[in-house]
Symmetry: D2
Amino acid sequence: MVRLSNDYLKELITEYKPYTTKGEVMTGIPGLDELNQNDLGVAVMDLNHNIYSAGATDVSFSLQSASKVISLLIALEDLGKEKVFQSVGMEPMGDFFNTISHLESGDVHRPFNPMVNAGAIAICSLIKGDTVEERFDRILMMLKTITGNENIDMDPDVYEAEKVKGDRNRALAYYMSSSGAVALNPQDALDLYFRINSIRLQVHDLAKIGLFIANGGRLIEQNKQLVSPDHLNTIQAIMMTSGMYNESGTFAVEVGFPCKSGISGGIFSAVPGRYGIGVFGPAINQKGNSVGGAKILQRISADLNLNIFNQTHTHDIKKSAE
Amino acid sequence: MVRLSNDYLKELITEYKPYTTKGEVMTGIPGLDELNQNDLGVAVMDLNHNIYSAGATDVSFSLQSASKVISLLIALEDLGKEKVFQSVGMEPMGDFFNTISHLESGDVHRPFNPMVNAGAIAICSLIKGDTVEERFDRILMMLKTITGNENIDMDPDVYEAEKVKGDRNRALAYYMSSSGAVALNPQDALDLYFRINSIRLQVHDLAKIGLFIANGGRLIEQNKQLVSPDHLNTIQAIMMTSGMYNESGTFAVEVGFPCKSGISGGIFSAVPGRYGIGVFGPAINQKGNSVGGAKILQRISADLNLNIFNQTHTHDIKKSAE
Amino acid sequence: MVRLSNDYLKELITEYKPYTTKGEVMTGIPGLDELNQNDLGVAVMDLNHNIYSAGATDVSFSLQSASKVISLLIALEDLGKEKVFQSVGMEPMGDFFNTISHLESGDVHRPFNPMVNAGAIAICSLIKGDTVEERFDRILMMLKTITGNENIDMDPDVYEAEKVKGDRNRALAYYMSSSGAVALNPQDALDLYFRINSIRLQVHDLAKIGLFIANGGRLIEQNKQLVSPDHLNTIQAIMMTSGMYNESGTFAVEVGFPCKSGISGGIFSAVPGRYGIGVFGPAINQKGNSVGGAKILQRISADLNLNIFNQTHTHDIKKSAE
Amino acid sequence: MVRLSNDYLKELITEYKPYTTKGEVMTGIPGLDELNQNDLGVAVMDLNHNIYSAGATDVSFSLQSASKVISLLIALEDLGKEKVFQSVGMEPMGDFFNTISHLESGDVHRPFNPMVNAGAIAICSLIKGDTVEERFDRILMMLKTITGNENIDMDPDVYEAEKVKGDRNRALAYYMSSSGAVALNPQDALDLYFRINSIRLQVHDLAKIGLFIANGGRLIEQNKQLVSPDHLNTIQAIMMTSGMYNESGTFAVEVGFPCKSGISGGIFSAVPGRYGIGVFGPAINQKGNSVGGAKILQRISADLNLNIFNQTHTHDIKKSAE
């Protein structure tokens, strides 16, 4: 079996860099990052806090949809599972992440899950705080705590771009308000949503977020249980079924552990009880997922035997553990 | 932690039997089983081939949608992953299993995945064999081999009922034929589909199917690798994202391991590298899943710490294995 | 054949008043009119400017969707037919008037027609004028000219209510803006849309609007051609296929001349070359159309032989004309 | 104003023949007619039974969707309006004529109207007769009576082709059967549907069908009222709102009288109380309507002032009649 190392990851970057030409950087949005199509980076962190990385590790980029996991986590801590999932479902949806039709069909007009835009906007309306700023600060603080990176912050240019390009998200928010399925203040929910999408970080930070989830919400260095481990099981299950837009099923098959992507090209993954992984490659495919990032995750899963459905390793472990 | 035993399972049956009144037996279909709403049974098998069970273990019932996993497995063996997923997708779908609209929307008119009716009918058209009978015999033989139960067979009354109530499935097959997205002979594909839905077995058999999958396609007693382990990873991932109709996301969160249900009330589950589980409770909810069966799976998952996203146990095992 | 008179219309009011209990007044919208469920009024005007009326003729109510015809007319005058129908289609739609899904499906994301909310909002974005106020004044002026009623004006309470309840319309406007199918400033288009919906008038005014259309845009008393007659043919065709929400087909069959309704319970009708008709009955059915109003129109059509598909009268007329 | 004559029609054929290159003949269906893309023909018949024609008047072609009007007429005669419209709606639908999604959405799963394929199949199930042959013979007899053409008959090659290419229609029939919204025997309804689609006739016959409808169901030469005039009002209204597939709204605007098309390129039109028109041009557009045929109808409507919403002529006639 392959041994995890910086050199191993460097080889992967070299091998999969050509795939960055097969995707496209999100365009037409002045100010929204300034991403280089050929960038490709990866970072993997284990439970002993060893971190391995290669490629574009010093490029910072906005969280975009990857923020949806953090806001869900805080909403779960604030209100508990039952109350959160009264407003938003937990079922995967076959359509694109920004679709509005699903809010109109069916008996309930709730968003399908917290990973689609409508669901994430609804989740934003649940997070506690007197003002949007206060709620945003709670999310930012959580991210700083998880990553140990005090420099993480919102990028004001990206935030402005989010507002300029935000009409689809406005449509989703106003539709939910009009149907009454989700009680929300559209302006506030959208403002918070635009802000957290604009948080800028690097691929190491993604790996740390992944590890935090993979470790059930326990901060390893501080040996501190930051959030309820139950919520992390919930979050991983939702990442598995819905984290990669309408390509989640393919990732479950081809990668086999929970992942969450953003259209700026970042993906973080949680390998339960083992690793946190961050990848970054702004060349995305038509479903919105990093082309090079997907290749790297697929390869790491195979090389390190990380597919959670692959019983062989678990079985061996289990036997030796008995 | 709870210890698995017949007594433990008996307690679960007693505790969750009242929930059978909260579902309904599939009705209006003369000849399709003759199921008792209050039946509830469970069987769990481990890698050492120990089997534990309780409740309605002697009741036989038709496979219904649970057959979709077996036909997918044989199609994967016959044609390989790439070719199979040219005809059928691997993405979860937010709608009901018998919906036809999804075949009309989108650019590609393929079924979303092999677990929805349209997808399973398409899969039936891929299985090799000169006649429907021959193709059916291959599926039946596989089931007999997996379960070691030579008595498993199609129930002719259920088969007749399948044909009588089969107009929705006919609509799906003819629609796929008309759009040309899937090359199929509608009559043959439907006939095979109706036949495999009508295969009758018991809850122990479901546990054995689950264990076979959880063990990566290796027959334990014969110590024989029957099918490619890769295909079982694929199948588990698809069961996880799409196995429980449009309640799959909820099962991923609440149960946390791959499951597949049928509307006769059977569910089989694969706990990767650990257990096969069969439950049977014909009182189903509006999504088509056994109400009592769901309760039992959720409880077993919690009691035996089987949620594959719960890193704690894996972590401990991993540490002791190192 | 029946002879048109005040007495005849009074009989109709008496006969159909009981039907007002079969509908419901639009509720839950503070300030939006204060309508009496039992009100029922009718006015019919002929080409000689004779006007007959009965019932609730002194009640004023807001135009609501009936405004969509006036805004379309002005857009046609401003830009011409070709340009208007680049932004909005002219096909009837099977769904409810406030549906958003249709904007997402299909290749083009244009609204189906100018009579559904999305289409009317798009039309509002086409009307010429430097400010929303200026554009509104042009529409109001047109209405005053058509009706000869200088007192027609926007009701500020209704306007406020429109804004409070306007989230569905906001969703439609922002969705169109996001898809780029229609170039519009969502805020301005919505503001104009809310304003014209809030214009308050009476059933006589509706009859005059209907007559103006039935007379091809010619003001009878002034003997003045106010707008291009071609546009009135277009408008009548669109009223016929789409004027009564997703009950337009039924009105084409049961009434047989062009009508346009609003959810405050007003309907105006154009009987080509013969009459303008206004009815008002705020008890509306589930499709949004006045229950009593529909009954009266159906009856007048039959009694006065006004169904435009009924060749008998035209035939007789034609023969005598030859 | 233009005077109707063979020469006038000949000019139109010459002028619009080039448009036949802008459409395409329905392809991929062996045996289904053998149509020449450049054919273009027209026939107009007035109430005095004068007939004018030009172009491809000797080419025979199959009725295809134009048959839907005849089957609706017989169903109305057999069961009455109320009963017919319990099974099928009378509202226009925004989607393509062979769509199936509309049967799945909404509360009622009825077809939207008798002019879409699902609706026409449902109508076929309503027509009285002990066998499919008997029911077919009744329809054929009606056509022979209306046209006075004893040679009209089903083309067996087209009928075979209809069955070969019939899977979409099978999907519609089986879906309706499965939902229970329409009580039908799918096989019989489909067989009758395929048969009447295969009836072969010429453009003069279409003009006669149009005139029969425009004249309220009265046979002019025999001076005989063949069917209830009420049903013809209903049929014209439905032709107006739904007769030209999802281009019906455009025809209402651009042509302005009831029309019904078939994908073999025939269209018949009823100008209420005035003319029957048949056009034939097998080069169809993407909506399924004859490109050259549409041009000719638009032109005749303008030249002869036949738009039923154009009040000017009616007004003049009315005045002289008073």
